[in-house]
Symmetry: C2
Subunit: 292 residues, 2 copies
């Protein structure tokens, strides 16, 4: 049984789950685990690891339209090198400071593989769910897509400095708060645009008609070798932590004024259940290796 | 560099850490990671694992004198067996229900070794810290000591049913709330009584004169073969998740009336920095294998 099937199995047992973060009164709470082998390619600094791991949970808070209040992490590793540990904490503190949350520590743990578990806490009186998109709403995304996919290629090529920079994304907490006043549904793009759209469509019981051009990051053009490859990294790769949301079209100009990051309208909510890109079905999948 | 040295190194960087849970406004937040190899001996059911992992974080909330509001967990494993996963979630839900918190899900993750990261959230306007013990205060502990040590022996012997039962401890959230009104300092006994007392003494800048008899669990008598072994499991082993606290002696009768679990007075706070058991220095250490 794979992870998605298992999550589906648990949906009935855990009604509070199934969104980017759980809502408990006015608090939102979310947790993640990242591993060296799968999440931190060779060349990832511990500063970047701290930033990115804590940032991933802050992104879930952002996707609820909540303010971020605090984060904690468990740092598990075979050894505790003081420099590495402090770099990790600095990264965690810096990403928290960026979104005005407090990094309040956590725990250390002996473990064979460098592994990080992070939790972020947020607050909102009016969370934005994945459900709620209405036919006719504009489908939008913040920032650019494909940064993490491009970073992975750069790690492979040994361009570690640029790769680390791309890996240290900005959690969209401040834009998320601005968007929350008019968004009808929201999710982060951590599973890739395609899969995130399918999740949003399932939760909102709607479809999406997406149209190119998509806001693919310039870095993707620098590391890919053709349109198919570009599309893999930009649409399917994921781990980008941008906000994907729906909103009435007439709220867009006002949103753009206050959001602080570029917002691209990439399509429209439809009343069928299809997710299409330029009228062709967009598959519900993540990155597929070997299509380069 | 070992875990304790690394935590000490970070103390300056993370002023909000250093207690059982971090305090963020009226919220308290705490996180832990547990692994199959070190924390779940062969024979531990997934129901017990869910109960115990989430319970460990709820115990940290209890040690702050806070009410527990919610918990989340990341369940990381090589495969997702539906029965195991549901049993884990049921254990997590049941321990939360016991202390009137909501188990609100979390995440799943592929990982070579069964690993659980848990986070608990609590609320209090008046957290009880590890600092604050005053000379003359009574030193007390809830419940009994040594249950987890005894459970480990029982797992070894193949008495899995009893071992699982001992492993499913009750987080002392309700007693912790009652105690919080008069406690001057509090910690949970997860690192063992001896080490917990040293942590409390360091934070409160005091000493403790502890006297036998200590409230060692009957199960310890059943699995140990003499006073030295009994003392190892009861005083040093840890992972018992009882509350160790200090309080003015005249508040004890009232506390016992409302606490709902037995409270044993095991000593007195002193104004030197020694931690003694029957006038002999109690070493600052956890369980030592091979002293049986």
């Amino acid at each position: 049984m794979d992870e998605r099937a298992a999550l589906a199995l648990l949906a009935d047992d855990l009604p509070a789950a199934g969104d980017d973060a759980a809502v408990v009164g006015e608090q939102v709470l979310t947790t993640d685990m990242l591993h060296e082998r799968t999440d931190f390619p060779a060349g990832t600094t511990r500063y970047t690891a701290g930033w990115r791991a804590v940032g991933a949970s802050l992104s879930d808070v952002a996707a609820m339209g909540a303010e971020a209040t605090a984060a904690v992490a468990v740092y598990a590793a075979p050894t505790f090198d003081p420099e590495e540990l402090r770099a990790f904490v600095r990264g965690a503190q810096d990403v928290c400071a960026y979104v005005e949350a407090d990094y309040v520590g956590g725990d250390l743990d002996d473990h064979g593989e460098f592994t990080v578990a992070t939790t972020a806490l947020g607050r909102t009186t009016d969370p934005v769910r994945r459900s709620g998109a209405e036919p006719g709403d504009a489908l939008c995304v913040t920032g650019t897509l494909g940064r993490s996919g491009a970073a992975l290629r750069l790690f492979d090529r040994g361009d570690h400095e640029w790769a680390n920079e791309l890996f240290r994304f900005t959690p969209r907490v401040v834009p998320g708060l601005a968007i929350s006043s008019s968004a009808t549904a929201m999710i982060d793009s951590s599973d890739g645009l395609a899969r995130s759209l399918h999740q949003l469509a399932d939760a909102s019981d709607c479809g999406f008609a997406v149209e190119t051009p998509l806001p693919i990051d310039d870095a993707v053009d620098d590391v890919t070798d053709g349109p198919a490859d570009r599309r893999e990294l930009g649409v399917f790769f994921g781990e980008d932590f941008e906000l994907v949301f729906t909103t009435p079209p007439d709220s867009l100009p006002g949103l753009r004024d206050v959001c602080g990051v570029p917002i691209s309208r990439i399509g429209t909510v439809t009343d069928d259940e299809a997710v299409t890109l330029d009228d062709v079905d967009l598959p519900d999948r993540g990155y597929t290796h070997g299509e380069e």
